[in-house]
Symmetry: C2
Subunit: 313 residues, 2 copies
């Protein structure tokens, strides 16, 4: 009998769901709204109803489902306990047991950023790797460290908190974590915009960026077009990120770095700047570490949740 | 029938050997000279003879030996192949199989720095931990990263090469690895001496260090006695090391940092300086990470080799 899995990625506004076969082929994906009111009381029943409807659409029984993975926007301890989620009205607890009771098959729970890392490992930019470091460069910098096919979450849940590696202890501005000089102050969308704005304010260099809104996309687009100031902002970004990736490599030495998040929309141009910066700072035997762009976009979470179904506890 | 293990730590001048019971109690330790001439042809026969003599001394048979771990001063790939060792006249190859044939019981091979990490995990400063980061602060800075009771060696053998994390990309002097600004240029015995000498040359601050040889031990002893210049050198050392440990924590988030090597002879005074520096830079949930001094000294290697005997491949 063929077996199937659900990958369920719970966000603050929508729940993304995917039905997969056991080899990791996505058969259908869809979304439902998240209803966080009243401590999120409707969240799990809504998911269970949507799962039941999907089983009916595909003519499947509950017995044919190996299980589901549920990605949540909060800390998960001991593989099941979800700390109260700020943007879900404090929803949390042993939600895996509760969803399993509603659905009639096993449910594994995982932090959403970790789920995305596992998705990229299984069917994305890290496919085929046993060890991988995933970075999402968005508003902030998130990450996931995979060793021997498993996520390294750490003793205090801080494994893979790569955005908070200190790269400039002389930084004046505070990071969201309350300290200064974190990687995400430099290597995020916010960081590259800040670097460009400082260059615009501090120099007279002509730049197309002087004419419109300075977004991360605009900085990368201008850099691709040869704009000197934008190229300088991108060089600062890549140098700082390369330095942090070299430090990460001295700790866990992954086969591959996989780069995702909004900034990775800059594509191969981003890797062309980043790889030489990494090599400048890497311990020599690790200079050849592979790089790839993430390939699953915002489907990475449902893939990672489905992957988790097949893994040992 | 009681079982026993050998831990064998091969160095450039001596081989340290230990006979352990299966619970990790060291029953006897001894040393023999290393004879590296002729590509190290005598190394394994010498070890096998010494092991046979120990069995006779203790009235044990080969059948009572679960196995031996052999620590080697070089890179080990796939758990058995030793790259030619520079300070052993190019000795290397599949030495585990060769020693096993001579001894009549299984032999596991491991890099010596990694062996020391496993020793501290098993019976030293990291005892009771599932995850630990070990740093040896000596002439250089070595390390070992343990996750779920296993060494993280990495895709290119660079896992735990913590001495080559870049902490100052503006550094002028070259590190032994050919790059600049590595942790071991600052957080080693050599590094603290260099910092003190720079302060002595660049200031008029009175200091007891102006009167004798500036060794790492002298710097720490003067700092303990309240010497302002020595305290400044130690503060620089601790700040740089704390910054690197905070970065390591953002990657693998260990339960504990265990500090060994010659510099760790400075004892609790070292940790009193290091822990606040770490907390200054750590991601907040990891600020409470435990610290301990290594406790096995130069026996860590034989303990780690014996530990390896009981582990899955």
């Amino acid at each position: 009998m063929d077996k199937y899995r659900f990958g369920i990625d719970l966000g603050g506004t929508t729940v993304k769901l995917g039905l997969f076969d056991d080899e990791g082929t996505l058969l259908e994906k869809w979304e439902i709204p998240t209803r966080p009111a009243n401590g999120g009381a409707a969240i799990l029943p809504d998911i269970a109803d949507s799962v039941a409807a999907a089983l009916a659409r595909h003519g499947l029984t509950r017995e044919q489902v190996r299980g589901a993975g549920l990605g949540v926007p909060g800390a998960v301890t001991e593989g099941r306990h979800v700390a109260p989620c700020v943007n879900l009205d404090g929803w949390g607890g042993d939600v895996g047991t509760a969803l399993s009771a509603l659905c009639g098959f096993p449910v594994r729970v995982v932090n959403d950023a970790n789920a995305a890392s596992l998705g990229e490992l299984w069917r994305g930019g890290g496919a085929g790797c046993r060890s991988m470091v995933f970075l999402t460069l968005g508003t902030g910098v998130g990450g996931g460290v995979v060793v021997d096919g498993k996520l390294l979450t750490g003793a205090h849940g801080c494994g893979g908190e790569l955005g908070h590696i200190k790269v400039n202890v002389g930084e004046d501005e505070l990071c969201g974590c309350g300290k200064r000089g974190c990687l995400e102050q430099y290597a995020s969308a916010t960081g590259v915009v800040r670097a460009a704005k400082r260059l615009l304010a501090g120099t007279d260099t002509p730049s197309a960026l002087r004419d419109g809104e300075v977004s991360a996309r605009a900085v990368f687009d201008c850099a691709k077009a040869g704009d000197a100031l934008a190229l300088e902002a991108v060089a600062l970004f890549a140098d700082t990120l390369g330095q942090a990736l070299a430090a990460i490599s001295c700790v866990c030495d992954p086969e591959k770095f996989v780069i995702g998040g909004g900034v990775s929309a800059a594509g191969p141009f981003l890797l062309d700047k980043l790889i030489p910066a990494f090599r400048r700072y890497a311990f020599p035997p690790a200079e050849g570490t592979a790089f790839a762009l993430a390939s699953l976009g915002n489907e990475a979470g449902i893939y990672g949740c489905a992957y988790l179904v097949g893994m040992a506890e």
